[in-house]
């Protein structure tokens, strides 16, 4: 896969003397993790398709500090935050869109106290807006017709910020059958990655959290498990493998589903 994507950086925009409509905050997972990079590319394809005037920070972007803060390292978090805010403010950024609920939460809720005030959206909210305003049209509505999709609510999008409907509204446009897990929305079970768990072995117990959550999902008999977070994606993918269901069930980000439905 190497068709060229149009990904301007803020530095380039600055050199051309223009201010893009939005900044796409890629996040560390979206930049480096092999699975998450596919989500990043899918979202950029959608942005390109809809002719959205956006830019990324590129090599000027740095970890938001979410994991450090949740691991208890407030120092490291604030150092990261202050560095990022300096750059964001220097570029006079007003609107940020990100495909990572952790970045979303941190930028939206935890940067303001340190001097970073932005309007922040999750990519599912932004895409929903694009569709509403007619800037994006779903062309191949039938790509996923008849498929059963269950949506796993990322904690940092759902409970943390009360965004439950935007991702579901997008799935609706695909003409799929959305089947809810028993624990959904406010009572959704965590995938097990949050709070810096992604980077360590779990404590002793009798099961891994991602396996338990995958069992929730498999109970709905889905063809696809959709989610909106790179960490959830990894956890659920691993869970599906642990349950030996990877031949019949795929884990995809909402942006990937939409990009595929557009033949992108």
């Amino acid at each position: 896969m190497s068709e060229t994507l149009n990904v301007p950086t803020m530095a380039e925009c600055m050199a051309e003397g223009r201010q893009p409509e939005i900044l796409f905050w890629v996040g560390s997972a979206g930049s480096y993790d092999d699975r998450a990079k596919k989500i990043t590319r899918a979202f950029v394809k959608i942005l390109n398709k809809a002719n959205v005037d956006f830019a990324v920070l590129g090599t000027e972007e740095s970890c938001t500090g979410d994991v450090a803060k949740r691991a208890g390292n407030e120092f490291l978090f604030q150092m990261q935050a202050v560095t990022n805010i300096e750059i964001l403010n220097a570029y006079e950024i007003k609107r940020i869109v990100t495909a990572c609920p952790h970045s979303y939460n941190t930028l939206k809720n935890e940067y303001p106290q340190l001097g970073g005030h932005y309007q922040v959206q999750h990519h599912t909210q932004f895409i929903e807006e694009l569709i509403h305003s007619g800037r994006l049209k779903i062309e191949n509505e039938n790509t996923f017709k008849g498929k059963r999709i269950t949506f796993h609510d990322p904690c940092y999008l759902g409970r943390a910020n009360n965004v439950y409907e935007a991702p579901r509204a997008l799935l609706q446009t695909l003409g799929v059958e959305i089947v809810e897990m028993k624990r959904n929305r406010k009572t959704a079970l965590c995938c097990g990655a949050g709070g810096a768990q992604m980077f360590k072995e779990p404590e002793k117990g009798d099961k891994d959290i991602n396996v338990l959550r995958t069992e929730d999902a498999l109970q709905t008999n889905p063809n696809i498990i959709a989610t909106g977070c790179p960490y959830c994606n990894t956890m659920m993918t691993d869970g599906v493998k642990a349950k030996e269901k990877e031949a019949t069930v795929t884990v995809l980000d909402v942006a990937e589903l939409l990009a595929t439905a557009q033949n992108l």
Binding site: V26, S62, V67
Partner: protein, 435 residues
Amino acid sequence: MGIISNIVFAVILVLGVGYFVKNVKTLIRNIKLGHDVDVSDNTSQRWKNMAMIALGQSKMVRRPIAGLLHIIVYVGFIIINIEVLEIIIDGLFGTHRIFSGLGVFYGILIGTFEILAFLVLVSVIVFWVRRNIIKLQRFWKSEMKGWPKSDGNIILYFEMVLMILFLVMNATDVHFQTMQSGNVISQFIAPWFQGLSEATLHTIERTAWWLHIVGILVFLNYLYFSKHLHILLAFPNTYYGSIAPKGKLNNLESVTKEVQMMMDPDADPYAMPEATENDEEPAKFGASDVQDLNWVQLLNAYTCTECGRCTSECPANLTGKKLSPRKIMMDTRDRLEEVGKNIDANKGEFKDDGKQLLGDYITAEELWACTTCNACVEACPVSINPLSIIIDMRRYLVMEQSAAPTELNNMMSNIENNGAPWPYNQMDRLNWKDE
């Protein structure tokens, strides 16, 4: 006899209320051991939360059966206590059913109380069955052994006995029964006592009356030692509970100050700290004991109903890890009580007892099992936030003790060096574009 019993009544009343006031003072003193925190914002939203969550019990009904029963017991118990007003006046002045002069209205009032008392009795029995016969899982976790388990049952017994006493008192009150108004339930109990002489009935009625009021006073004083304290504290607790999005963790101001100094290009790294700062104790980052928490967190601990709704939704607990958010709250309260007693025993000064919340009550293993998913916060019917305590204790482990798990230390040094939690080069951050 009359005047003596009035005096006895007054003495019991003063003792009961006096001891309760003393407990409330201790409670407030202990809660104030916590750090100050600004909760003066958004008062209208806070009043709304209190009205909805504490008064309206909006979160209880998420579990419909328990929710409905709980509302009956709660409403019933509060309304029936209006009757206490009459008991107190009768007790102090030697009158009998002073309000009965209200006529029809009195009948309606007592009739309502009787119906409620009956419903409360039934609900409390169902609660007891859920706890002890059906053995609902969340009441049988490891932190519910011993006192917490007895406490749960003692409260139910108290309520059963008080309701029965109230109904028996009415049933054996010959005068009240002949009024034929308001004895909606007790008229069916009265026949059980048929054949007894009027004097015996009177003795039973008086005994029930005395036990009822003494029972209420004992129960009032039991609150402080029990999870039942939530019937009072749920109100301030839902008022002071966080109104920010759940994902937002608080900002540590002490760290902000240090980071600002470090990042300030004009700051002289060799400058002597200013004189005023010398007197101040260096700020402690995070919490290792209850005094390091803020007072809302301590209020949270006293408010916890030990219902376990948090723990039953906690992903770590559901997968067999040691972490239980309910235990975090119970431990905090137990330690706070211990610290409070220590202060009482040492003339108002806390004397180091070689113990602390971290390690002696809550272990690092529990703290590191948390995914910060907020399921506990969402589930709590009285706006308690166990996660905030977990984070404050992690902060202490990491910033004061450098005691994070090795993998997390690696992750953090990656962020420091490469601006990402993985060991990748910052310059490769945009490579995804061309892959």
